[in-house]
């Protein structure tokens, strides 16, 4: 037992250090600032909306659906690694102890989001429904129990089926969880109890199957790797995660953009950078995401000052992150040897960013049409982007 206790705590500490290392960048990054503004604006709009909301609004169903949906996504955090299938094999019979620790952590790390979503909905429930305070708290307990069951069922299901057909299990749990929360919100307690019993029975049936099977290391290791990759990808938007190679997609529908680059020695870096930007998911989706946030804020937030600040902050974030991503030079690349001017890459990156920031500006402008001074965010985006590019340092220069 001691042995596995040690294995778990060592991994857990290492994992926590890794998470903290990168979360620091996330919270101190410029995007965090944008999120504060966006959350503030959304909160304000939410409170405005609460005052006008109609009594017939189906709050129970909306809250149950959102919370139930998120709740069913209960990917276990096992911290298993590839060598485990060899080195932990002799300890197979003691592994339930390890998994118990893993599931406890999984529950605590995931319960926060569910609880927060519910708490955010409390003002809505108070406005639209006639639930008393104690009833609202009681329902929170039901939600926590449901989440506990979801975590255990998903783990046991993955174990028993070695990772296969997970979607079926998730949809089933989603459905049952949504029904259970809805019943709780409408105070049909007998239904809640029936659904809980159903879930518990489902869990024990799976747990019985689990006991008959060897540990599906292959599936758990893969799931764990995907989970960590997801985290690193996320962290990569805020800071440079070493040796993270994002996936590549051809995106043929954007091929016409490459026609902007003429065939000449002077355009060699442009030839490369256009393709790098468009085909690397990390770069391209970063732009898509930030542009979408900026556009949605422009579309739905009617306070000009807020949309301007958000547009500026997001233009800054898009420019600086893409500039760093495209210019920073970690590994050796063949273009370091090309007989071309050393600053050609910088100029190429600038051209690509200018084009895509103008597109961002146009999209945001189209989304703010109808507002007075609808063209201001577009001008802000272009000005901020240009200024950001000029005033930040070139990351490829300092490493040389």
């Amino acid at each position: 037992m001691n042995n596995l206790q040690e294995v778990w705590s060592k991994r857990f500490n290492h994992y926590m250090n890794e998470v903290q290392k990168y979360m620091r960048f996330v919270f101190t990054g410029h995007l965090a600032l944008v999120f504060v503004f966006v959350l503030g604006a959304l909160g304000y709009q939410y409170s405005e909306w609460l005052e006008a909301v109609d009594d017939t609004f189906p709050a129970e169903w909306v809250v149950a659906s959102v919370v139930g949906f998120i709740m069913a996504l209960s990917r276990p955090v096992t911290l298993l690694r590839e060598p485990d299938q060899v080195y932990l094999l002799p300890l197979e019979s003691k592994m339930p102890f390890y998994f118990k620790k893993a599931l406890t952590y999984t529950l605590w790390s995931q319960i926060g989001l569910v609880v927060i979503l519910y708490l955010v909905a409390v003002p809505l429930l108070r406005t639209v429904t006639e639930l008393s305070s104690s009833q609202i708290w009681l329902i929170l307990i039901v939600i926590i129990i449901l989440k506990y069951l979801n975590v255990h069922i998903e783990f046991n299901y993955r174990y028993a089926n070695r990772g296969g057909n997970l979607l079926i299990d998730r949809i089933a749990r989603m459905f049952l969880s949504i029904l259970a929360i809805e019943s709780a919100l409408t105070l049909s307690y007998s239904f809640v109890i029936i659904l809980l019993v159903l879930l518990i029975a489902y869990n024990s049936a799976l747990a019985k199957k689990v006991k008959e099977q060897p540990i599906p290391y292959e599936h758990f290791v893969k799931a764990e790797q995907n989970r960590m990759m997801g985290f690193y990808r996320f962290a990569n938007y805020f800071t440079d995660v070493p040796h993270l190679h994002g996936s590549i997609r051809r995106r043929n529908w954007l091929n016409f953009v490459y026609n902007l680059v003429p065939y000449s020695q002077k355009s060699a870096q442009s030839y490369l950078v256009y393709r790098t930007f468009i085909r690397t998911d990390d770069h391209f989706y970063l732009w898509v995401r930030l542009t979408a946030i900026s556009a949605i804020v422009a579309l739905f937030v009617n306070i000009p000052m807020i949309t301007w600040i958000v547009a500026a902050a997001l233009a800054f974030a898009t420019t600086i992150q893409l500039k760093y991503a495209l210019l920073s030079s970690g590994d050796f690349r063949m273009d370091r040897l090309y007989p071309i001017e050393p600053n050609q890459r910088n100029q190429a990156v600038r051209k690509v960013l200018r084009l895509f920031m103008v597109i961002q500006a146009v999209i945001v402008m189209l989304c703010s049409i109808g507002q007075p001074l609808f063209f201001i965010p577009a001008l802000i985006i272009i000005a901020v982007s240009e200024a950001t590019y000029v005033m930040t340092k070139d990351p490829s220069v300092e490493t040389e």
Partner: protein, 246 residues
Amino acid sequence: MTVLQLTNVTGGYTRKPVIKELSFTIGEGELVGLIGLNGAGKSTTIKHIIGTLLPQNGEIRLNGVTLNENLNQYRSSFSFIPETPVLYDELTLKEHLELTAMAYGIDRQTLKSRSEVLLKEFRMEKRLNWFPSHFSKGMRQKVMIMCAFLVDPQLYIIDEPFVGLDPLGIQSLLDQMDEKKKAGASILMSTHILSTAEKHCDRIILLHEGRVRAQGTMNDLRRAFKMPDATLDDLYIAMTKEQDNE
């Protein structure tokens, strides 16, 4: 005519030099093998020649100029095939060739005619629109080789070219090297496959602990080691023993 000239080159990654007072030359149409134990300084030497490391002392002249005197002329005079293929994940095979051609100022017509020959030689015609993630190690190596030969420079620098290539690939590479040599190009090749080196190299440079231990034709080396009938393998092992005795 001397194509590449190293004069007393000392250098490394840190203050502590890995290669010490290295001097050798490579002439027109010459294939020179750079041989040495692991850690002898082969890769460091190559890094200095391609200019990713700068010498702490001494100078390297390629076609008469140093990197500092004329960066673009220096860089257009050689092409490099690294030991581990370095490809752009986001470019197809065709785009690797096109990018290389653009970067070296090769016009479209020349690109087309040269790449047709190379693609056929290395049997890669059908993979033009593939991304490198779908390539095997050998295919990746072939992409690097094709890009290097596409440039058609004065000097080829080839680091461990035969690892990962299938026998047909090795033969194609040797054929290409031979053809370029006949046209007057020079080749510097580092390798551990000694039998191939012995068979194909005009001259051999034996590196040992960052210094040139011996250089010349096979006969020169045999004289230097006083082993008249030795193969390159024998000489290599003799050098290893020398190291053990120290």
